[in-house]
């Protein structure tokens, strides 16, 4: 049910996800943050059961932190982080799979560019210029196919995100009133906007 999508722009990535936490006919909360910060310049938008979402993202984030501590502050590139995630998913797949579908976005100083990776629960990995997970794909992919072009500015990318959110609000059966939008660029991971404040208990 979760809606996650992301777009790469010149110098960074935008990640967006809905904020509903629901099961069956009950909505538990409307301010869940499904875009987790992984490292100073990367984050992942996650869809799936809440338990796996949290378990997997925390596991990856802490392992990335350990790598930096163990290796004199060396940061892993976005590509390396994405491949690390994929490997963890692949190993767990035939033991106790993580039922998570992700969009991992990051900024690399080395190329002064953002990159976006699509990973699914079967441990597929693909670098993409834009992508989405879940039912949202049915609505968003065609919009992004049409509107995406190389060298988008941050404002352009946010416009496309807005179009996608509007489409989902109009056409998607499940009501998803709130969206969390985060931007990753040279200044790190920052919240652009949200519908519901995750800090509200």
């Amino acid at each position: 049910m979760d809606t996650v999508f992301g777009i790469q722009f010149k110098g960074g990535v935008v990640l967006a996800a809905d904020q509903s936490n629901a099961r069956s006919i009950l909505v538990y909360q409307n301010n869940l943050d499904k875009v987790t910060k992984l490292s100073s310049h990367s984050a992942m938008g996650v869809s799936g059961p809440n338990a796996d979402m949290v378990n997997f993202t925390e596991y990856i984030a802490k392992n990335l932190a350990l790598y930096e501590l163990a290796n004199d502050g060396t940061k892993l590139s976005t590509k390396a982080q994405a491949n690390f995630c994929r490997n963890e998913l692949a190993v767990a797949l035939r033991k106790g799979p993580y039922q998570v579908n992700l969009l991992l976005g990051g900024y690399d100083e080395k190329d002064d560019a953002g990159s976006l990776y699509f990973l699914d629960y079967l441990a597929a990995l693909q670098k993409v210029p834009y992508g989405s997970q879940g039912y949202a794909s049915n609505f968003c992919l065609s919009i992004m196919d049409k509107e995406y072009r190389e060298g988008l500015t941050e404002a352009d990318a946010l416009l496309i995100i807005e179009h996608c959110i509007k489409e989902i609000a109009t056409r998607f059966l499940i009501n998803q009133p709130n969206f969390m939008i985060k931007i990753i660029d040279k200044d790190g991971v920052r919240v652009h906007s949200f519908g519901g404040d995750p800090a509200d208990t």
């Binding site: 290796n71 060396t74 892993l76 590139s77 590509k79 390396a80 491949n83 690390f84 490997n87």
Partner: protein, 262 residues
Amino acid sequence: MARRYDSSTTTFSPEGRLHQVEYAIEAINNAGTCVGILARDGIVMASERRITSGLLAPAKTSEKTYKLCPHAACNVAGLTADANILIDQARLRAGRYHYQYQEPIPVEQLVEHVCNYKQSYTQYGGLRPFGVAFLFAGYDEKHGFQLYQSDPSGNYSGWKATVIGANNQAGKSLLKSEYGSSSAEMADEGEETSPDVAGALRLAVKVLNKTMDGTAAAAEKMELFTMTLDESSEVVHHILTQKEAQEVIDQVEAETASAGDS
């Protein structure tokens, strides 16, 4: 006095020493010399080839230089059989890292892994340490070309130039005076600058000449290895042919011959 405390790796002596580790280090001081020099544009590793018998078939690639992964190689001084185990470990680690991250392993991480493995043989299991010292040469994006030395204790350090094996002290003292101060590369203020690969090769041969003291310099007695980047920034491993090696030796000979003239 040391007798009582030197047969077990896992026991400290009253003076706080691990005798087995020290004896292992001794074993390497009898092995064929290896010189490593960090140049501006690459790394040079030169080793003494000890030909124990004329009947020996020549090694197919090398008995001193081993490729660990596309961007790293090592030179061995000590027990070759021990070295083979560690080289396997290093290759596995480099491969697994690449499998996990789809990126080349940072050189220091590779060295540290091998060293941690060596260290465990000085602390657990009652097995003897590895009688091997390595010179690791590698390139990664973050730190460029790097040269590391490791010994049986599992300690390692980064070097601009170093020597392991027989007569390493003589080699090191020559490097101390000559590294970074050859007239061609001297900066105006007389500060130390690293040589280029060609200069490093000559310096390495000079060092080997000194450590192999007594035996005449000859291309068959030395193995010269260089690590550089090609135009597409790929790492190139190159063991010099007899002809190329002989050229360097001749250049060094000419240099030393004319050194007394000016």
